[in-house]
Point group: C2
Chain length 186, copies 2
Amino acid sequence: MDRRQQKTQKAIFKAFIALLSEKSFSRITVQEIIDKADVGRTTFYAHFISKEALLKALCEELFSHIFRSTSASVPEHGLYSDDSVPDSVFCHLLQHLKKNDNNILALLSCSDNEIFLSYFRENLNSLVHSLLKTQIERRNDIPQDFLVNHISGSFVEMVLWWIRDNLRESPERLDRYFRAVIEPIL
Amino acid sequence: MDRRQQKTQKAIFKAFIALLSEKSFSRITVQEIIDKADVGRTTFYAHFISKEALLKALCEELFSHIFRSTSASVPEHGLYSDDSVPDSVFCHLLQHLKKNDNNILALLSCSDNEIFLSYFRENLNSLVHSLLKTQIERRNDIPQDFLVNHISGSFVEMVLWWIRDNLRESPERLDRYFRAVIEPIL
DNA sequence: AAATATAAAAAACAAACTGTTCATTACAAA
DNA sequence: TTTGTAATGAACAGTTTGTTTTTTATATTT
């Protein structure tokens, strides 16, 4: 890819992230983005057809990154299948989030966060789904779909709660709480 | 209140709800609202200072209604404290949602639903909080806050899942699933 | 190094939306 | 009936959006 393109893309992403930590997505204008990124109006539209497309591209970037590194880290054993394993996939995820690469926490907590959340949920869902497949016992009184949704949904809600609480709890303790409400139902 | 005011308010709300079931909040313009409601531009701004204020007013309307009727219906016994009670507060809520008064389901499922969801969560939170107070046993290994958030959060996620699934499951069965994942941790 | 291709820029544009003002008309309540 | 208040229509300046066109700057290829 042309070095010039990379430069402008990077500038636009950076400006966009900075703006997102200031104000909600819907209040951000293309004008502000190109002002802050210091690129021409034409240039912006050559890269992204709209503000929404930019948001989507950003989401794909960030979440594919965080989830690739997470699911690669603990692939072999299932969801909380072994108590002796100290760090679950979830703990890894929380630790990753706490590091706050690329301001991902700011994005998840901003007021127009629905799009981020849907990406978060989607990625979590497939993660939980694949983890549950390795689980031996299965409940036959609850649909698998419901269970998957419950687990990933609860996790999302927990993260939001965590953020609202300014990350006061440690990832490890949070993971322990999460185990306490998830393990009994498996 | 002046009959004229009631009339325009009603027209605006109605137009707004109709538009929300067509497209997301951010794509709706004031222009469209006043066109559909057939009121003057000046009139709209005399009632609501912005599109956002209208949304807020609508949320307050709808949720205060649904939650007042719900929490009034089952005030005396706690959250799933008695297995012999067939219909929990949650079952009531689900049934209420299924009736879909004022298109509340459309609002919860539209793509810009963050504001609706925050109202939903908020109301649920205080409901769960008050229900847990009547619960005798308490876990001392998990903070009460976490538990409340987990329960109401899971419920919200379940409803979203339900909506995505086009309300295929009955409220009663959904309530059973929810019991199965919540009761074990109480 | 020169030639070619491609990205960025600046300016200008119509179209749409916003939020406000003001004068006029219609309606409700006393 | 009179008086107050709500609704209306038109016009407005200011933004924002997405596009076009021309020119300039920078990579890539030979």
